[in-house]
Amino acid sequence: MSVPLNYYIVLSMVLFALGIAGVTTRRNPILIFMSIELMLNAVNLSLIAFGRYLGDAGGQMLTIFVMAVAAAEVSVGLGILIAIFRTKDNVDVDVLNGLKG
């Protein structure tokens, strides 16, 4: 009497869509990062669910690597954010248009 795979996949999709909505509506880079974490978690959930379904431990291995990459991404991203804040005093992504041609 366990929960079917379909439910995990649908839940993963809902969380991923929430992450997309966050990335597209938020103007604060930290909140954009958080929405990216939301999406990464949704993908991790589906990886583990599919791995369990296929009887393959590879899904869990991939999840470990996704976590490591997420940690690296956050540390570098927040470092960039602090560097921007030091020079611009503002981290609104609508204001940060220095790369515009």
Binding site: M1, M13, I30, M34, A68, A70, V74
Partner: protein
Amino acid sequence: MTLQAILSGQGLMFLFFAAAAIASGLLVVILQNPLRAALSLVINLFSVAGLYLSLNAYFLATVQVIVYAGAIMVLFLFVIMLLNMGQANMHTSYRGVRTVAAFASAVGLGGLMSAVAIKGQPAVMLPAETMVNGSTAGSVEGVGKVLYNPSLPWLFAFEWTSFLLLVAVIGAVVLAGKRQQSSEGKA
């Protein structure tokens, strides 16, 4: 899923954590205060850890709590407080952009859903726990047996992950560290 299955222990666990994950994920997207959004994300990460547990991924559930809810979220909260974003600078984008974004993500969700739900796929039941050399795949022992097995591809990726983390540490120190006096003008 029949009513009997929903009311079983695992069904209730799934429903509880799924509802908590969706609710807190929604709060991450709509809350105005970055600190509150960060705390909602902590709840979301805990709920996803609970779902990992329901999928018998015990080690990853622990790692999720320690690494994500512990280390990464502390980093987020640290930067939010360092940049003093608790109150100001949190307006979301203009109404039109927000409508378009909500529409786009809804269309994306609908497209994904149609692949699984609308086609009337039957419920795919999960098999019994995966075993690796006599130990559960989700336990520390099982994860170690797969991750450190030289005949599988994961060991090579694991070694390079350590290099990636080293690069990230150096990059974070270089980016966020104090500039030297001599290069202050150029930077």
